[in-house]
Amino acid sequence: MAARKIGDVVLAVQNISLSFGGVKALTDISFDVREHEVRAIIGPNGAGKSSMLNCINGVYQPQQGAITFRGQTFKHMNSRQVAEMGIARTFQNLALFKGMSVLDNIMTGRNLKMKASLLQQAFRNPFGFGTAEREEIAQREVVERIIDFLEIQPYRKTPVGKMPYGLQKRVDLGRALAMEPTLLLLDEPMAGMNVEEKQDMSRFILDVNDEFGTTIVLIEHDMGVVMDISDRVVVLDYGKKIGDGSPDAVRNNEDVIRAYLGVQH
């Protein structure tokens, strides 16, 4: 891990507040993410972790605060822009495209890279010339590399709906990787996995992190995993930030301990 050198801040979240019809989901949250680091967001259920990510990639529009990415500051983000800026995302309870094959799911991650017009696609021909066909093949090669990397070759043509949960999680990751992100948001990538699956997944995450140097923001329940793989940790509880720092610092923070062990909610 020493190989990775942590760079300077790429993503800064400033005083984000979000509420749904009176119900406060996030209150005045601020934290930053540095290049190449693995940044974890932890907290009990309903702490607002997913909402935080949803704000970052423009699914929700926060009422207050701003988000700065690579020097550009936004009051609220627009999903398309976010994607173009190279922020990818996986989902807590799988948001795969159930009706489509593994291949197609991951291919969608390449759609941003494909420029062929509607007509070109309609008149796409099987003989390998023509923009559409060439693009399809080029992108397919990239996707195949990801498939190899995630070790899901045998499932290429299977509809994702029919796959075991753990593998679906991988496809989800694969779809995000297909976007060649510089910042990768992972929403509980190991939720509901057994130990082996968790180990595999951790391995993938770390590989991504040091092979492609991708910055990673990670939401996770399993403290063990978090403490192992993350460089810095933010702790949320009831939509408020109650801790931020290195795993050890956080581990010894009373508020955090209370939030997790002490007072039951």
């Binding site: 749904f20 949803n54 309870n93 948001a95």
Partner: protein, 309 residues
């Protein structure tokens, strides 16, 4: 001015009748998440049944009293609707639980075809009469204020009254009775309702029965207005904008929507129509609902949807 009032009144009364049909949609959608395109067919079916029974009962019983005939016919038709509801639940709905909307919608369309055929086979495809003694001649109110007075259609007035009564009855049923509460529970969350031991199947039968009765009342009123025959089924198409405007899950929405659509389409036809050659009221109702949807995608009283990922 007088004419404007007349138009508005007319619109309100038609609206009340639309609301009655719309109610059928809402009830079923609320409880079973089925968008019941067969509602129109059910209206026709119920009306046919009532009309024919009213005709046959005197022959069977030899009692020539019109009131007796009508009431008996109404009861019998009601029973027919109950049976229909039960059969539909048994043969169709319970086999289609948790299919997506489109499939269910088409299933009800299939049911509609079937009921159309069945109704005409059992009761014939001629024009039949429902005579519940609604007065046909108009009255003219406020002649003192406006010359010619304001025309008020007694028939519509009574019809609207009946509709209103039915609506209050239903809302009472929903609020007060335990069945009503069970229905609401089911509407909110099927699984949860099941887990606390509410039998879905029974609830669905009940709600289809209720919808059947609503259809019967609607059929009775429209039938006595128009005469009972096939085209009665098409009033459903007039009631659809009401449903989306009011929100698929809201009873008050259906009522309010009905009134808005009723008034809207009449005013549009009377005041805009002449400039564009008339005949605009049908699509105007839809466009009205559409424009409205653009501002409130979930309709007047529908629940708001939040994306969770």
């Amino acid at each position: 001015m007088a004419f404007f009032l007349e138009t508005t009144l007319g619109g309100l009364m038609v609206g009340m009748l639309y609301a009655l049909v719309a109610l059928g949609f809402v009830l079923i959608f609320k409880a079973s998440g089925v968008f019941n395109f067969a509602q129109g067919a059910m209206v026709l079916f119920a009306a046919l049944a009532m009309a024919r029974f009213a005709e046959w009962i005197p022959q069977w019983t030899g009692i020539e009293n019109r009131w007796f005939a009508n009431i008996a016919a109404f009861v019998l038709a009601g029973l027919v609707m109950f049976v229909t509801a039960w059969v539909i639940e048994r043969l169709v709905l319970r086999h289609l639980v948790n299919q997506e909307g489109a499939t269910l919608l088409l299933a009800t369309l299939g049911i509609a075809y079937f009921i159309d055929g069945l109704g005409q086979t059992l009761f014939g495809s001629n024009i039949y009469k429902i005579d519940i003694g609604l007065p046909k001649e108009p009255i003219f109110a406020f002649d003192s204020l406006f010359q010619g007075g304001i025309l008020i259609n007694k028939e519509d007035l009574i019809a609207a009254a009946i509709a209103a009564a039915l609506v209050t009855l239903l809302s009472l049923f929903f609020q007060k009775t335990s069945t009503g509460r069970a229905l609401r529970a089911v509407a909110d969350d099927h699984q949860a309702a099941q887990s606390i031991g509410i039998p879905l199947a029974r609830i669905w039968v009940i709600v289809w029965c209720v919808a059947g009765v609503v259809a019967l009342v609607a059929g009775m009123i429209w039938g006595s207005k128009l005469g009972v025959q096939f085209s009665l089924a098409t009033v459903a198409l007039r009631a659809l904008p009401v449903v989306i405007l009011g929100g698929l899950t809201s009873v008050p929405g259906a009522i309010l929507g009905g009134l808005i659509i009723g008034v809207g389409e009449k005013l549009s036809e009377v005041y805009l129509g002449p400039y564009v050659g008339g005949g605009i009221e049908i699509w105007f109702a839809y466009v009205l609902a559409l424009v409205f949807l653009l501002f409130r995608p979930q309709g007047l009283f529908g629940e708001k949807i939040i994306d969770r990922v």
